[in-house]
Each structure stands twice: as C-alpha cells, then as structure tokens.
C-alpha cells in the first residue's frame, strides 16, 4: 500500500497551535499565505509584517521572518524594509481596524507610492483583539461593543470599502476582494494571493488582497453561521472580485 499526502501543512507554517478562537478566519488565511509562499519558493526571502490585532502573534505561526509593527503602521514598516532590501518579498498583514482606521493614511500613501509590496487585508467587520468594537467595516446595524444599538450611519458613517477607495489611485497593480465563506471562496482567495505575491516577485508593484473573514466570537455567531454572514451579508456590502488587474481598473 502506498500513501501520498495530497494535503499537508505547508512548510511556511510552524506547527505551533494558534491562539485564535474556533473558526477564526486568521487561521485559514495564514495557511493560504504559507501555501502561496511555498509554491513560489520564496520562504527564505519573505518578510512578513504583523499588525496589532488578533494576528499580532503571527510570527509564532509563520515559518519565515516576521516583524511586529505599531498599530496601523504596518505599510510604513513594510516600506522601510522593502526599500533597503528590494529583492526580498515583503507583505503586510492587517485587520480592518489596523488598515482602515488608525492606519488609513499609511495605507493610502503606501498604495499611492506603488510600493512593491503585498498587503493582505483581513476584513472581519470588527475589532477582534480588543473585544469586539466597531470597525470601519462593521455593517450597518451591526451590534458591537461600541455600537450597542447597531451601527448608525448618521453618526458613525457607513462601512468603508477599501478596495473601491484604493482603486481610485493610479499606482496599485492588483486589487482584489475575496470571501473565505467556504471552500470555493478559499480557492479564490488562494488564487488572489498567488496573483498578488507573483506580482511582487515580478516587480510589478503594489498588490492588495482583501479577505472577508469570519470572527465568530465578535460577529456574535456560531462558526458556521459566521461563514454564512461573510458570504451573504458581508459580501452583499463588499462585492468580491478583481478591481485592478495588471495596473488597470476593471469592473468588479
């Protein structure tokens, strides 16, 4: 009898167990990134920048160099690395609070400079790490610790669509939104990450992948219902698709 592993843990993941809650999207995306890095054979020249958010400890799980960054400043830290080590592959991994709230200026300016880095954006519509506060991407009416009566558009504004915002800039090379609401979504997410990292390897410039992601705890749902929330309610507000392809705006 012969056994062939047809699905195994990627080399770019350590075998440390994560601190994430059951069903947390971070775990899924970590694996996808690791798989991408394995396929591109760039593990030894990849440098990750971990955000402040639930994934702050990503360096324990990723089997390549990773540095922490102050909350929201991940793209600037990535820029500071990439500019002095242009042949390394540098990506920033960020939550919605990190990327779209406190880090908004850094996000936009890094994209506008067209830094040759990859940004992986985990949009789970909530602040996980700090206990479920409203994120810039929390849905209208969504109840969180800081929107106890639901997000009110009048006083809090509507959820921010980051792909659309960045798509108004000239420089980004690839912008895509995916949703890991099930195996098909995961497949698309893997493909999007591959496109994004490949672009960087080829020196094409800035790539951005937004991943709609479950946070069962603070989406206040069971894990499987959180997947549904991601695939229906979130995806309804944040349409998935490619926004920028090879530097050109495309219809999502």
């Amino acid at each position: 009898m012969i056994k062939d592993m047809i699905y195994d843990r990627p080399e770019s993941l350590t075998d440390v167990k994560t601190h994430y809650c059951p069903g947390c999207g971070h775990g899924i995306v970590h694996t996808l990134i690791a798989e991408t890095i394995d396929s591109l054979k760039i593990r030894e020249r990849t440098i990750g920048v971990a955000p402040v958010g639930c994934s702050v400890l990503a360096y324990f799980y990723m089997n390549f160099d990773v540095t922490e960054a102050a909350h929201g400043r991940t793209p600037s830290v990535a820029t500071g690395i990439k500019r002095v080590l242009p042949d390394r592959i540098v990506f920033s991994y960020q939550g919605d609070g990190d990327l779209a709230a406190i880090g908004m200026a850094e996000t936009i300016h890094t994209a506008n400079r067209g830094e040759n880095i990859t940004v992986v954006f985990i949009n789970n519509a909530v602040y996980g790490m700090t206990g479920g506060q409203m994120a810039p991407t929390s849905l209208i009416g969504q109840k969180t610790a800081t929107s106890p009566r639901g997000r009110n558009v009048e006083t809090m504004g509507p959820p921010l669509r980051m792909c659309e915002l960045l798509n108004s800039l000239d420089k980004p090379y690839h912008i895509e939104r995916v949703a890991i609401d099930g195996p098909d979504g995961v497949r698309k997410a893997r493909k999007a990450l591959m496109t994004a990292f490949k672009a960087q390897v080829d020196g094409k410039g800035y790539s951005f992948v937004e991943i709609l992601s479950p946070c069962p705890i603070y989406q206040r749902l069971s894990p499987v219902d959180a997947l549904k929330f991601v695939g229906t309610q979130m995806a309804a507000y944040f349409p998935v698709g490619v926004f920028r392809k090879e530097g050109t705006v495309v219809n999502a």
């Binding site: 012969i2 069903g23 694996t31």
Partner: protein
C-alpha cells in the same frame, strides 16, 4: 484507490467548518472531547471521500491532512502528488 483523512484531534477547535464543507458527508462531529474540551470531526463514511480537499482547505487550525492510498496493484506513482 482510496483517500485517507488524518485528523490531528488535539489541534481541532471544533468549529465544524470541515464537516460543513464536505459534500459527501464523510465527516461527523465526535461525541468525545479532546484535551482542550472541544468536539472534533471523525471520519464516518471513509469510502465516500473523493479527496476533494474541501474539508482541509477550510480548517483554520491545519488539523486535517489528506493522503491518497493505493493498493500495490494500482499503477500510480507518487509523482502525481498535487
């Protein structure tokens, strides 16, 4: 030819994504708990497994590995690996 689902039960947090993802109802949730106190998937209908990897691709905790199992007679080589 056949597929084998390896579940590292101590990694499992019991989210149920794998079970939810499997179109062939190969997996079901255990009655038992692992050391952390979570239920975990168990292979119920091993034969039905098509090796599609949907279960594993959804696992946030890389608790699932999948292998292809050939009887000696199967004229396949391991070069076919994904």
């Amino acid at each position: 030819m056949n597929f084998k689902i390896h579940i590292e039960k101590e990694r499992c947090k019991g989210c149920g994504y794998c079970i939810n993802a499997c179109l062939q109802a190969v997996l079901k949730m255990s009655k038992a708990l692992n050391l952390k106190g979570n239920h975990f998937p168990e292979v119920e209908k091993s034969d039905a497994c098509t090796g599609c990897r949907r279960c594993a691709s959804m696992c946030p905790d890389t608790a699932i590995k999948i292998s292809k199992v050939y009887s000696e007679s199967d004229n396949k080589t391991s070069a076919e690996k994904k």
